[in-house]
């Protein structure tokens, strides 16, 4: 790799200054003149028929400007997930904004109000009378698959929304060839992304159906497409304003919900902008990571070689399939099937309707649920057969240069899993810790590991999933550049890393490229969402291509100034020079000024024409799909301390080694890993959205009941290792990082707990209560 100047530096985030001085750029701050406040009335029943709705009392309340009932809302079915076309054949079209006949979960919107204040809108909801006819509800997906269970959707027999499978080899033969067969059942729970900025939108819709919307979204073009469809209008009518940033997403703001179309219709009805800000209670029941139960069976030879792997996964998608029809695929492929080699493999998945809340996207997207099963069971195998957990994993994993398991047209061109394991083990002192004797006291220490062997850098190659990105770069007369893209910064630093990639390609210093703070779906090219660990790799490639195009034009103009051939020029630290003759140089600012100067210039000798061909703003643009989908991989090590008297588990240390191709910004990368570990650790030990088993109503609707790690619970020592394997198709060698770090904490912690106390936990979260029960103390 050639010498890099900006890529690889911990450049300060350009958005940090605004964020520490108040933070102007969030959608929650948008306030428009004349704005009204919207609120949605939600069903108290998990399953019921709507007999009648009477809103006459609400309409009379002073301050109420409009009431919206199901009959006012287009009754259309669609898939609200942003990253696929709205009627993608591989997804399920079962979502509707406000169903007038039936409710299928507690919290389903049945009516809405716009009023002059939030308080009046809330008071008006109490005045809407809805008559329900309660129906039998089902909350367990395996019960929902039984004959005779309540049917949620007419076209889904046994409530199965989707039933994908993969298979190769002969699974029975594979198990027959095994010396040992291991079977286990692994159950994961509902966890919330817990983005800190609630879902909020401000929508202005006129009587000609022109819409401007400010919204917490991970995908402005997804919001445009799905909102237009939900309202039955052309998508060019919808302008989605790109917020400079949103207060977290983590996959939780990756689909249209009722909020946006309801606000739009209330705006159209009243002729005024309408704002809906969800309460935290509403956010908790809007989307969640889908719980998955995995039945996993592995056949192994005495030396640990896998002969056969079989899994059945049952995903509870709740009342509508939405993300659940894709999460099951990613789970099956990247959570279970592709993790390890085996000559005979079979997987079958079930996405099942229940009367629970709707699932959604969440960092890792099906892989954490798979990894918990797969990585737990490998340790069970190693413990039983006396095998080394690192060697056994390496023995069955993929190697650099192999075809990509998902798409044989792609190659594992960079693959540093062995280095991740080796360097991580050294850093945490694996060998010594595993062989040291256990503590005699009540507090037992243990060490564990888990790997994630194959993950994604975007969705290139996946059926029905958008993957192209676009960028526009404009070089300014002061030698800086503006970058405009639709890629959202959801907190992980996309603004910073994309600007670094552009600066590196343009030969400008760090900080000389600025992300435009004004963009919307009218004026920037399409980009797929900020999801699937894709922005650094996919949007990064588009930004690099746009910068290369701007650089080409820069050299053409500079060539006329310098009387050289464009092919002989190079640019570095903001100066264009002739290769091999650094003395012959001009600044990028001079070139840009020349390009934008008047054609005829007044000189001491009189008016003098310049060159016609050099005139015009120096811009570059690109809109393209990436060439591949290179897998990042990771190995994680944790040390825990289990208090056998209280059941409390403390994570003392963690070491996380990732192969991410190239580190664009080390500090930002560390931040991703440390924050990802927090989410994974919460998933392992405490986080769980709980529901009343009788009524289906949410019992954990604020942060007092839904526990996530604070600074006190986090390990005091967290070390990140980045393996730079130099991905040939990535921008400056980079692939992705965002999700691997969330996938492995749960099995790594479960494996460390086993090492500490010799008890295997197969249900998450591993709470103190479960620890004590596992020790036979409850």
């Amino acid at each position: 790799m050639k010498n890099l100047h900006v890529v690889g530096q911990s450049v300060e985030r350009p958005d940090a200054y605004d964020k520490v001085t108040g933070g102007k750029g969030y959608p929650i701050n948008v306030r428009l003149p004349g704005m009204l406040h919207g609120k949605m009335l939600r069903s108290p029943y998990a399953h019921a028929r709507i007999v009648a709705i009477d809103a006459s009392r609400a309409e009379k309340l002073p301050g109420v400007k409009a009431v919206l009932l199901p009959r006012d809302v287009p009754q259309l079915k669609f898939c609200p997930v942003y990253f696929v076309p709205v009627q993608a054949p591989s997804m399920v079209q079962d979502f509707d904004v406000m169903n007038g006949d039936i409710v299928r979960y507690v919290g389903q919107p049945v009516a809405a109000v716009a009023a002059t204040s939030v308080e009046i809108a809330e008071a008006a909801l109490d005045l809407i009378d809805v008559e329900y006819e309660p129906l039998a509800a089902v909350f367990d997906p395996e019960a929902a698959m039984q004959e005779g269970a309540p049917q949620l959707h007419a076209d889904a027999p046994r409530n199965i929304a989707k039933n994908p499978s993969f298979e190769f080899g002969d699974i029975e033969k594979g198990f027959a060839e095994a010396d040992h067969v291991f079977e286990g059942v692994y159950q994961t729970q509902r966890a919330h992304t817990c983005y800190m900025e609630p879902r909020v939108c401000v929508v202005d819709m006129d009587r000609q159906d022109n819409i401007t919307i400010h919204v917490t979204t991970q995908h402005i073009f997804g919001t445009r497409e799905k909102l237009a469809f939900a309202l039955g209008i052309p998508e060019s009518k919808v302008k989605v304003v790109k917020a400079p940033y949103i207060g977290g997403g983590f996959g939780g703001k990756l689909e249209l919900t009722a909020m946006e179309p309801v606000a739009a219709l209330l705006s159209k009805k009243t002729g005024r902008p309408v704002r809906i800000e969800q309460t935290r209670q509403e956010d908790f029941i809007t989307t969640t990571r889908n719980p998955i139960k995995v039945y996993l069976k592995t056949g192994v030879k005495k030396d640990g070689t896998f002969t056969a792997r079989y899994a059945k996964s049952v995903l509870d998608c709740g009342a509508h399939a939405t993300h659940g029809s894709e999460v099951i695929m990613v789970h099956g492929a990247f959570g279970v099937f592709f993790s390890y080699h085996a000559p005979h493999q079979k997987w079958e998945g079930y996405t099942v309707y229940t009367n629970n809340m709707i699932g959604g996207g969440y960092r890792g997207y099906g892989a954490p649920q798979g990894s918990f099963a797969v990585e737990s069971q490998i340790d069970e195998i190693c413990a039983k057969l006396g095998l080394d957990p690192i060697e056994t994993r390496l023995k069955n994993s993929r190697k650099q240069g192999e075809p990509h398991p998902f798409n044989p047209a792609f190659t594992l061109g960079s693959y540093g899993l062995a280095d991740c394991l080796k360097q991580g083990a050294e850093k945490i002192g694996w060998a010594a810790a595993r062989s040291s004797p256990k503590d005699a006291g009540a507090k037992k220490r243990g060490i564990g590991l888990a790997i994630h062997p194959v993950w994604v850098s975007g969705c290139m190659g996946f059926p029905d999933i958008y993957e192209h990105s676009g960028a526009i770069i404009k070089i300014n007369r002061d030698g800086t550049a503006d970058l405009a893209t639709a890629a959202m910064d959801i907190g992980s630093g996309q603004i910073t890393t994309l600007c670094q990639i552009a600066a590196e390609e343009l030969g400008l210093p760090a900080g000389a490229v600025r992300m435009s703070s004004q963009a919307d779906t009218d004026n920037v090219p399409f980009d797929a969402p900020t999801h699937a660990s894709r922005v650094t790799y996919s949007a990064g490639n588009a930004v690099k291509a746009a910068a290369a195009a701007a650089k080409k034009r820069l050299f053409e103009v500079a060539a006329t100034l310098m009387e050289a051939s464009p092919d002989d020029l190079e640019v570095s630290a903001g100066r264009v020079s002739v290769k091999g003759a650094p003395g012959r140089s001009v600044s990028v600012a001079e070139v840009a000024q020349r390009a934008e100067s008047p054609f005829v210039q007044m000189t001491a000798e009189g008016p003098k024409p310049t060159t016609m061909e050099e005139k015009g703003t120096i811009i570059g643009l690109a809109s393209l799909s990436p060439k591949s989908n290179p897998p990042p991989c990771a190995a994680q090590f944790v040390e825990v301390e289990v208090d056998t008297e209280t059941g409390e588990v403390k994570v003392l240390r963690m070491v996380y080694a990732h192969d991410i191709g190239r580190t664009i910004n080390p500090k930002a990368a560390e931040g991703q890993v440390e924050g990802g570990f927090q989410q994974g650790m919460g998933y392992a030990l405490m986080e769980n959205i709980q529901f009343d088993p009788e009524t289906g109503s949410c019992l954990t609707s604020d942060f007092l009941d839904y526990k996530l790690p604070t600074a006190m619970e986090m390990p005091r020592q967290m070390d990140s290792i980045f393996i730079e394997s130099d991905e040939p198709t990535g921008p400056f060698g980079a692939k992705s990082l965002g999700e691997c770090c969330v996938i492995t904490p749960a099995p790594a912690i479960a494996n460390a707990i086993y090492d500490a106390i010799g008890v295997r936990f197969t249900t998450l979260p591993i709470t103190p209560e479960r620890i004590l029960a596992g020790l036979g103390k409850l």
Binding site: S10, E12, R13, D15, A16, Y17, D18, K19, V20, T21, G22, G23, K24, Y26, I28, N29, R31, E119, T193, C194, Y195, M196, E197, P198, Y245, I246, G247, G248, F250, E277, T279, R280, I490, G491, S492, G493, K667, A668, E670, G671, V673, E674, G675, G676, F677, Q678, Q679, D702, F703, L704, L708, T710, A711, M712, M714, R716, M718
Partner: protein, 153 residues
């Protein structure tokens, strides 16, 4: 029925007509147009709304504005003096403690209370001091580092 209260906010005096059930958070955001105090949960669970009232850090979502007539309030907007950032602000930027930034202002106000009371906290005191504030992006490591850096400035 609104009632008048006076508040000094970031050194500026305000006379405000407030609803009796309006929280301090709502008054600061909706009536004074401040962005620093943020609503994350409205139930005292996340700390995004943390401000100082007469030098004490509080969750402004848990305070009725009427109870604070005559109080002096500081929000993150009031941390910088004459345009010069507070050490906590520069440290948060330099340590990489800011990701989505939604918790940042509340987190700094909690940290400021800690540093006001304990100018040289050790790591455990820092963690304790910010444990009433949630962050979902950073895993807190760089926030702890930022507070440490600020305490040394």
């Amino acid at each position: 029925m609104k009632q008048m209260i006076s508040l000094e906010v970031n050194g500026e005096a305000h006379e405000l007509a407030v609803e009796k059930n309006a929280t301090l958070l709502r008054v600061l955001r909706d009536q004074l147009g401040l962005n620093g105090p943020k609503r994350g949960c409205d139930s005292g669970g996340c700390g995004c709304c943390t401000v100082h009232v007469d030098g004490q850090a509080v969750y402004s979502c848990m305070c009725y504005a009427l109870s604070y007539d005559g109080a002096s309030i500081t929000t993150a907007e009031g941390l910088a003096v004459d345009g010069e950032l507070h050490p906590l602000q520069t440290s948060f930027i330099e340590a990489g403690a800011v990701q989505c930034g939604y918790c940042t202002c509340g987190m700094m106000m909690a940290a400021k209370q800690l540093l006001d009371e304990c100018p040289r906290p050790d790591e455990e005191q820092i963690r304790q001091g910010i444990s009433g504030n949630l962050c979902r992006c950073t895993g807190y490591a760089k926030i702890v580092e930022a507070v440490k850096m600020a305490s040394e400035r």
